[in-house]
């Protein structure tokens, strides 16, 4: 199985993944990234952090593929 690297960007900056995860395909890697974004968005929202999160998936042959989530609070002044 190819190894995919998931670089996460959150409010504290870019976290480059140097461990990677073995997965069967880029489609499986994208599903992993979606689940991770769901988990991390929840945590980020609870923590009152600005909720902009992104994951860049790297592998040797394909990519990078980028996913991101942005959450905005609109409040009348």
């Amino acid at each position: 199985m190819p190894r995919y690297y998931f670089d996460v960007t959150d409010d504290s900056g870019l976290h480059t993944d140097d461990l990677g995860i073995d997965l069967p395909s880029m489609d499986a890697a994208i599903m992993e990234a979606r689940r991770a974004l769901a988990d991390m968005t929840r945590e980020s929202l609870i923590g009152h952090n600005p909720a902009t999160l992104s994951i860049r998936i790297r592998d040797g042959a394909e990519g990078p593929v980028k996913l991101f989530v942005s959450m905005t609070t609109e409040r009348p002044a």
Binding site: F6, L19, I21, E32, A33, R35, A36, A38, M40, E43
Partner: protein
């Protein structure tokens, strides 16, 4: 027939919580039957099975887990060497979850007929075996509580728990490291997190200089800091020696 040394780890766990007489040790040992080995990834028992014996793990790491219809897996407990992994099946009869081997695992079988007879003759020893299943339950409760915390807190808590449980059986090396044969995916299945989130959390905790996780080996860098990070209090492991 297994001898005393094989049961060292399990007996230490009992003796940490209460005095165990030589007669009780002999009675327990006399219930042991054959040893069986499993390769990593094999199941010791499966959901739906009706086992005729309970399994005491001599060597190796195992998990309790549930498979979901969507193909995902939830790990509800990580067992360390010396745990009596399915003492429950003596009374529950039908398994409501599976037990799988994370690494090569050696177990000794305790036939239910012998264990049932033991409970007739050894009331105190019976209470101690009961205690061990109660501690399994208190660990489940603690995991439920931990699940409401953030990923780094939850992971720090799990690492603290494993460190304490392995220290009881001398499985922590001098440099404060121990083996944990789990992948990031399995760690995610235990914490209810995606593998990517586990990966990110491990890197975050490493940057905080609390512990290093590499090649299935964990080295604690800052024990007090890690306990604080995971809000860890070992009360639920009931490590107090007193008459029970």
């Amino acid at each position: 027939m297994a001898d005393d040394s094989h049961f060292g780890t399990f007996l230490r766990k009992l003796e940490l919580r209460d005095a165990v007489s030589d007669e009780e040790k002999r009675a327990l040992l006399s219930c042991a039957a054959e040893e069986v080995e499993y390769l990593a990834g094999a199941d010791l028992v499966r959901e739906g099975d009706r086992p005729l014996h309970s399994l005491l793990v001599l060597d190796g790491f195992t998990t309790r887990y549930h498979d979901s219809p969507d193909g995902s897996r939830q790990i509800t407990a990580i067992h360390v060497p010396g745990d009596f992994v399915d003492l429950h099946s003596l009374l529950l009869k039908e398994m409501d979850h599976s037990v799988g081997a994370l690494s090569r695992t050696r177990v000794v079988r305790f036939p239910h007929t012998r264990l049932a007879a033991l409970t007739e003759e050894q009331p105190h020893l019976t209470r101690l075996l009961w205690l061990m299943t109660l501690i399994d339950s208190s660990i489940h409760r603690e995991w439920l509580v931990a699940a409401s915390r953030t990923a780094p807190e939850q992971m720090a808590h799990l690492i603290c728990e494993l460190y304490v449980r392995l220290a009881v059986t001398d499985l922590i090396r001098d440099d404060q490291s121990f083996t944990l044969p789990v992948t990031q995916t399995e760690l995610g299945e235990a914490l209810g997190l995606s593998a990517v989130h586990v990966n990110r959390t491990l890197q975050q905790l490493r940057s905080e200089n609390l512990f290093i996780w590499q090649n299935q080996e964990i080295r604690i860098l800052d024990w007090e800091g890690l306990k604080l990070r995971g809000s860890f209090d070992d009360r639920y492991l009931h490590l107090v020696k007193e008459p029970r």
